[in-house]
């Protein structure tokens, strides 16, 4: 599932279509397709986060030229669906954009307060 802003924009899809190369888009499609069939998500592909990000987790892979890419999100208690809150890079232990983690935390909080919404993650649609 993708997080959708209260104004209806899908920031995850925007990141996917605008920021990722064709190779990286294909990688994430295969990655998500594979994870969908996995009963448990484990390292090195998935890592549960702690501290301020408790309850969140990140899907981790390397994109073009080895740049570390992340999808931050959470598993919903019902149906165990993974909701992607934000896509970003993580180079030198720093997220890009720098506010990626705080945005993810804030978006999760918004969803818990019924602000914003989620939609099916869709490969072919573009904004």
């Amino acid at each position: 599932m993708d997080y959708v802003l209260p104004n209806g924009n899908n920031p995850v899809r925007k990141w996917y279509t605008k920021e990722l190369s064709a190779d990286e888009q294909a990688d994430i499609d295969v990655l998500l397709g594979t994870l969908e069939n996995a009963k448990t998500w484990k390292q090195p592909v998935y890592k549960s986060l702690s501290g301020n990000a408790q309850g969140l987790g990140e899907i981790r892979w390397r994109g073009s030229n080895g740049r570390p890419l992340r999808l931050i999100g959470f598993h919903s208690p019902v149906g165990n669906k993974f909701t992607i809150l934000i896509g970003c890079t993580h180079d030198g232990k720093k997220y890009q954009p720098p506010e990626a983690m705080s945005s993810a935390i804030s978006r999760k909080r918004d969803l818990e307060r019924n602000r914003g919404s989620i939609c099916e993650h869709d490969f072919e649609k573009t904004d």
Binding site: S21, A26, D27, T34, N37, R62
Partner: protein
């Protein structure tokens, strides 16, 4: 057809560039999952796999990460040799790749090593090879509907195999080849 398949098919139909990338993703993303699953199947550490494949542990660690872009045929052949499994490299329709992506699960993906490969064990009982990594369980019993047989090869009979391994082969022969080949084998060997 699953939702994942439908979505992938739409993208593959829409763009040749995406089709090219999708082929690469099968290697960059698909292979790391397979390597990790096979290593876990054997209960090997990354260091053990590195040793078996004449690589180093950090390389194995990198190869198990999704998006690793350094695979070569030579590397994959080394890994196949280390795992003692086959490696299929062939051109294929995109539909095959979609099907694989939609059905592959890292939880259930296993490949029998040569020594455990039922097809390789049908005609020649070479399973007593020292490369076996998964000891047979002495507690397992032969199904009651299988009649015991013993191959006639003198070299086999003198190879120091154990009685349980004999029975395990019989089990495989019966399950994999059915009555016809079972009968042929029995006629070529010495029935008990």
């Amino acid at each position: 057809m699953s939702t994942t398949s439908k979505k992938l098919i739409e993208k593959l139909k829409a763009s040749k560039k995406y089709r090219e990338s999708f082929v690469g993703s099968q290697v960059r993303v698909g292979i790391p999952f397979q390597i990790r699953a096979l290593r876990k199947q054997l209960e090997w550490s990354q260091s053990r796999l590195a040793e078996e494949a004449s690589m180093n542990q950090p390389t194995i660690s990198a190869m198990e990460g999704a998006g690793y872009d350094g695979f070569t045929l030579s590397t994959l052949r080394k890994l196949a040799a280390a795992f003692d499994v086959g490696l299929i490299v062939r051109f294929a329709p995109f539909g095959d790749l979609v099907h694989w992506t939609d059905h592959f699960s890292p939880d259930t993906f296993t490949v029998p090593r040569a020594v455990d490969d039922p097809v390789l064990n049908v005609y020649e009982p070479w399973y007593a090879s020292p490369i076996r990594t998964q000891p047979l369980q002495q507690s397992e019993s032969l199904p009651t509907n299988v009649t015991a047989i013993r191959p006639a090869s003198s070299s086999y009979q003198n190879s120091g195999h154990d009685e349980y391994a004999d029975r395990k082969l019989e089990d495989i022969l019966f399950q994999e080849t059915g009555t016809k080949k079972y009968t042929e084998t029995r006629s070529a060997g010495t029935a008990q």
